[in-house]
Symmetry: C2
């Protein structure tokens, strides 16, 4: 994070106000009373926190769509009717960009992190300068679109894989981009004229899940991404784990089978060396003799029932399941969310993941709830936007709570 030009300010003067806002943000329309209960505050405190937020337009009264539709909580019909408070998504927009080694994906979201617009662009030159120019170009496209609405764009998030120091806004080391110590937040803030948050891609996705997804309200959960790499974001004690040295959640290089295939990290039988896209494709090529070039083809082959292909996926599923069980054994999260591009093949893994998990989870660690959810292509960029939203909300009051 960096300070910035023409910043939109967020009137959460007190910790309680930020607390209230994030509670309403994560848990949809709520009554003030309920908000207080969830945030551990008195109703009076909620009223006081809500007022300036209403005045500034960040919150609005009256339930959103689907308010009375769900008859879930049969309205008490007795006593003064509650008035619902919800976040006004229209109030501000955010841009999120995910940079991979060869592509940029950008989204424009509202304050509720709903995607308004998504764009992709190839990244032809990954050196910091040209990459920054490409990001800036893409962001300007988003800004042009945003200008049509009345909502200001209040922040830009950039997600990059590797070792990222979010607090300083510096990319310490990103293997795919081949960057070292790039002060990306500062550069991008200058180039785009927006407050910029830079974070590791998996952590950003975890933030999105924690605030807007299946992790909402949980103080301990893990997010596992399956795709080109196998990643893992962890939330412990309500905060995303960053690791003392900037690295955490490296589930991809857990060794699952010392007798397994070699991995680029130098070991054998890492989860990624068995269940990463490249590993699966290579292995399927080897087993079936078919010349598959990407995972789509590999999945197709398995679905067609080509001999041996399913087994490759089964083995991958087992590796993933074991990795998840390891996380569960160590941290005892309430829930594990499996996501990622690799989920296209989920029907090929699911059974093995679940089984390997159940077998390897020790004792009540097995009670952990394992969920899957699809990962649209723009999800990584949405994670970046979520990080920007988080910065926007928590920046001004010196607090740092997630």
């Amino acid at each position: 994070m960096r300070s910035t030009p023409h910043a939109e300010t967020f009137p959460a003067h007190t910790p309680a106000a930020a607390q209230v806002f994030t509670t309403v943000l994560s848990h949809g329309p709520l009554t003030r009373l309920e908000t207080g209960r969830r945030a551990g505050l008195s109703p009076a405190a909620v009223t006081k926190a809500v007022r300036p937020l209403l005045a500034a337009g960040y919150l609005v009264e009256g339930g959103g769509p689907g308010e009375a539709a769900e008859g879930e909580e049969a309205r008490p019909a007795l006593g003064r009717p509650a008035s619902l408070v919800r976040v006004n998504g229209e109030r501000a927009l955010f841009a999120g960009v995910k940079a991979t080694g060869d592509e940029l994906i950008a989204v424009l979201t509202d304050l509720c992190c709903r995607v308004r617009l998504a764009r992709r662009a190839p990244l032809r030159d990954r050196a910091p300068g040209p990459a920054l120019a490409a990001v800036t170009g893409l962001v300007h496209e988003l800004l042009a679109h945003a200008a049509e609405s009345h909502a200001p764009v209040a922040g830009l998030g950039i997600a990059v894989s590797g070792d990222v120091d979010r607090a300083e806004g510096v990319v310490r080391y990103s293997p795919f981009l081949d960057w070292r110590d790039v002060p990306l937040a500062e550069l991008a803030a200058t180039a785009c004229g927006l407050p910029v948050t830079v974070d590791n891609d998996v952590r950003a996705l975890t933030v999105a899940e924690q605030w807007f997804g299946a992790g909402a309200g949980l103080s301990d959960f893990a997010l596992v991404t399956v795709g080109a790499g196998i990643g893992c974001g962890l939330v412990v004690h309500g905060r995303v784990v960053a690791g003392a040295h900037g690295v955490a959640g490296e589930i991809g290089h857990l060794v699952v089978d010392p007798a397994g295939p070699p991995c680029h990290c130098g070991n054998h039988g890492c989860v990624e060396a068995i269940a990463g896209d490249a590993a699966i494709v290579a292995r399927i090529r080897e087993v079936t003799g078919c010349h598959v070039v990407d995972s789509a083809e590999a999945v197709a082959l398995a679905h067609q029932g080509v001999p041996g292909a399913r087994e490759v996926y089964a083995r991958a599923g087992e590796a993933i399941g074991r990795g998840i069980a390891t996380v569960a054994n160590l941290l005892g999260p309430e829930r594990v969310i499996i996501s990622g591009e690799g989920l296209a093949a989920y029907d090929l893994f699911a059974e093995q993941i679940r089984q390997a998990f159940t077998t390897a989870a020790f004792g009540s660690a097995a009670r952990c709830d394992v969920q899957t959810r699809p990962l649209p292509f723009e999800e990584w960029a949405r994670g970046a936007a979520a990080a920007a939203i988080q910065t926007f909300i928590t920046q001004h009051p010196s607090s740092g709570k997630g």
Copy 2:
């Protein structure tokens, strides 16, 4: 934890006071200024927090032994000399008991968790009733000794392996004791007339390390215990990880080698099935043909250079190192502390642990500082006392910070 008879009260009325006290407790004699810096408070706040603690005798002024001995911080010789504040260990005593399946170990410590007295007693009947009686007996021995000093005994901690709900003071399930849902804190409080804290043994040891040991001041570290079992306590974001289902840090059942020996947990090649005491002894018996019955003999054999024995330890070291690397990869702790009875054999596996760790740690996770420290036999009981001290200090103000 349970409320209690004739409780000694601790005058930490405000969060800041508890913060100040624990800072001084963990970091030895400190000036008020320095205390404020570390605790993130203004000097004024420190002065105000310190006063009632001094008045009540929990803190005293003037450095302890070794005050000026260390010339570390060359005294400025200019300006008003700082006056050091430290915890008065004599002010209160605590009892700690560790219960294994066949033995009780008890210690009496002072407020700084220094062991005053240690006692062991066999546990002949592990049913809750008789075990409680045995604990009570042992505690009364400690109390008798404590009566000779003027310090009151302000709490009792009991450490038990398995699933323990510290907040409720209930042992949910302890395999070694074969207990289920025993409200131990309440029972022991009644029987001993002391406030009782019950916690999982590894977590208690972790607390001791966090406040009084090599983890002092670190917000992220792991403690690995090597012995009959292989355990792991985790501190993330400055708090001990408890897990949503009461289980966390189960490093002992990480599968290190699917082709390895069977484990009682049902899997093959768990760390514990390779590096636990029983596994090592069994394997050494198998390899050498010698009839060894305990780890002392096994260690002796390896030291004598009996063929094959060293290799068993080497393999154990590798398994442990891999387990530690897994923790480092997932959480990125600042430090890992290896401890345990198994350290008697440390020279036999040190090299392999270090090597396996370095090999399996991914990227900068390898920068994690791996330390070893001996574990005196009464250390587990001391952990229980540390838990009691923690309860004592943090109970009254409704906070729950570790």
